[in-house]
């Protein structure tokens, strides 16, 4: 049998030259007449080691990375095919501490299998959850998801089972499952990785959601910045359709469920669920007032489940291994696992799936290995552009929805961006306001006008114009935005601003007044 050589097709690996490495490996295989096949897998999530080349030797996968195309010939010379020693050899990939210490439930197959091989997917436990769901009553599926304690991984943390129950109970001839894959938060890439690395798990999760609620049609709304995820999902949906996983009779159940992939158009606000629904309908991505809830009147006014990618992709393992298995991980009201996305100025950036409850300090100092620049950590932004900046003084905060809320922060989609001491927090606060101004949908005044006034006020502080008065004004403006905005964009932009002001007051101190040189 041919030896399998794994080279990721994940966008992060591609961005670091994986295609060139794959070309070089293919050339060596041909030139040397080696019996081997290249499998383009997803990423394991250890992105400082990408492109990570793995070779299967005696049932074990030996890793080499980070590999550049010019290293490839040398790798073969060193005996790559038998896991030979080389300065870039990492040993058995599963034994690398970063991977070994994780609890991979949702990402169990990501980086392991060929993402577009349904046979590979099934051989690694895929479709077991859907098979079980097919034989169950909708109300029992919903109960399992509720009992698992799964909460929306998009950021809001709303219990997924309760959302599903509302749609199940809502009257309607047509219902929809909408997957929110508009992952726009800086520092997050879990949705992208699972769509590129294990697309069938999302398809399976959506099909289960369909069976549970009586919905027959699903949409995946993927941001246009993710062309590789769009391509992978499109191909996976076609394969699933041909195999009868999707279509008029899901796995022969007689129940229909189909999925269509849709591409966003560069509007961050469409990650907000009601704006996303408007966008899918072909309108401007303007936020809707709630009520009515999307569960009652969602897409085309029909009852709609709208869930984040990771929420839906976590359902198959819950259905397969049982609600209790999932619920037993985690702390407090945050049950199960969370794929941490470690980014920014760190030594070991990547994806780390683990039960809730690690402290921020453990994540930044131990798992991420501190800063890439070697300078001290100044601030950590958790939860994307609308998340708070945490100083080292708050590093004892456990990673949990409630614990972060208690410290005036949020875990959001679990993106963690680390800044070293060169960061200027006034500039970061200004950027939060600028971003909100660029991306505001314009429907509500606090967000639309407040963000622009916020930028101006931050500029005045930076120029030393009445700094005390303007700091008070900025805080007051944040208060108005927080409580007066219609959605999380305007409502949460104050988090990075207020946290920067509270924890890094020195950066907001009066600067020298710049005199015009006339």
């Amino acid at each position: 049998m041919s030896v399998r050589i794994y080279i990721p097709r994940d966008a992060a690996a591609l961005a670091l030259g994986a295609d060139k490495v794959a070309d070089a490996v293919a050339k060596e295989i041909t030139d040397r007449g080696i019996d081997a096949v290249i499998v383009r897998n997803g990423s394991r999530g250890m992105h400082w080691l990408e492109p990570l080349v793995e070779v299967e030797v005696a049932g074990e996968r030996i890793g080499y990375g980070p590999i550049k195309a010019r290293d490839v010939a040398g790798l073969f010379d060193a005996g790559l095919m038998s896991g030979g020693d080389h300065r870039l050899c990492l040993g058995a990939v599963e034994e690398i501490a970063f991977l070994k210490r994780q609890t991979r439930l949702t990402f169990a197959r990501c980086g392991v299998i060929d993402p577009l091989s349904l046979a590979d997917y099934e051989a690694h436990g895929g479709l077991a959850g859907l098979r079980r769901a097919v034989a169950m009553q909708p109300v029992d599926i919903v109960k399992d998801v509720t009992d698992s304690g799964l909460r929306g991984r998009g950021g809001a943390g709303f219990p997924t089972g309760i959302k599903w129950k509302t749609v199940l109970d809502a009257p309607g001839a047509r219902k929809y499952i909408v997957c929110n894959a508009d992952e726009g938060d800086s520092g997050t890439f879990a949705d992208r990785m699972i769509m590129e690395g294990d697309p069938f798990v999302l398809i399976e999760g959506m099909a289960i959601a369909g069976l549970a609620t009586g919905a027959t049609k699903g949409f995946v709304y993927i941001r246009s910045e993710y062309p590789h995820a769009i391509a992978a999902m499109t191909e996976a949906v076609e394969i699933a359709g041909r195999a009868g996983v999707l279509g008029p009779s899901v796995l022969g159940s007689g129940k229909a469920f189909d999925i269509e992939i849709r591409t966003g158009a560069g509007a961050y606000v469409c990650g907000e669920e009601t704006a996303l629904l408007n966008s899918l309908e072909g309108k401007r991505g303007i936020v809707r007032a709630k009520p009515p809830l999307p569960a009652h009147k969602g897409l085309f006014d029909c009852p709609t489940v709208i869930n984040n990618v990771i929420s839906l992709a976590s359902v198959p393992v819950i259905m397969d291994k049982g609600a209790a298995h999932y619920r037993d991980f985690g702390m407090g009201r945050s049950r199960g696992t969370i794929p941490l996305q470690i980014a920014g100025n760190v030594k070991h950036p990547g994806l780390y799936e683990v039960a809730f409850g690690l402290t921020l300090g453990e994540i930044v100092d131990e798992i991420a290995g501190g800063t890439a620049s070697g300078q001290p950590v100044k601030a950590v932004q958790v939860g994307g552009p609308l998340g708070a900046y945490f100083p080292r003084a708050l590093f004892d905060t456990p990673f949990d929805y409630e614990a972060f809320a208690a410290k005036d922060g949020l875990i959001g989609h679990a993106g963690i961006v680390v800044f070293d001491d060169s960061a200027d927090m006034l500039k970061q606060a200004r950027f939060a306001m600028e971003f909100c101004a660029v991306e505001s949908c314009g429907k509500c005044t606090p967000c639309r006008i407040g963000s622009t006034r916020g930028v101006e006020t931050a500029d005045k502080i930076a120029s030393g114009i009445e700094p005390e008065k303007n700091r008070a004004l900025l805080a007051d403006l944040c208060n108005t935005m927080k409580f007066g905005s219609l959605c999380a964009l305007g409502g949460f932009t104050p988090y990075p601003v207020l946290s920067a002001m509270a924890h890094f007051p020195d950066d907001f101190a009066p600067g020298p007044m710049v005199e015009a040189a006339e």
């Binding site: 992060a12 800086s186 910045e225 269509e260 509007a267 072909g282 950036p349 932004q381 070293d420």
Partner: protein, 159 residues
Amino acid sequence: MNIRVANGDISDQVRDIVDRLKTLEGPMLPIVHEIQDVFGYVPQEALPVIAHGLNLSRAEVHGVVTFYHDYRNHPAGRHVLKLCRAESCQSMGGDRLAERVKAMLGIDWHGTTADGAITLEPVFCLGLCSCSPSAMLDGEVHGRVDVADIEEMIAEARR
């Protein structure tokens, strides 16, 4: 890479696209995406054709097309370079990189070089935050880039 066609063809081609896609649920974005794919931008002449095909007012179509950052109302340069401006890339010197690229190209955000080769656009996150700073040139992604990398990418694109 953008494709150009003669003006007279625009309405006919748009009509074909609209007719082909209008049976989708919520066909507007797929239609506008395809128009931009074909023409490299969304020509003004396309708007009344879309409005007619979908039974909407021109104002509604105009509203949608102008809402989304992706849609252009004029052709871009032959190559589009997107630099990430979001926080993760900022933490790895993205702002400094952007300033130097702007100076190198002699253009600001959304500008196109005088030879029509490169259009520079900001993007707020490519999901490559684990290899910041990141960039995308004509749909191809690049991570941990510095000025020299960008220079090389541009030189290659210009060839």
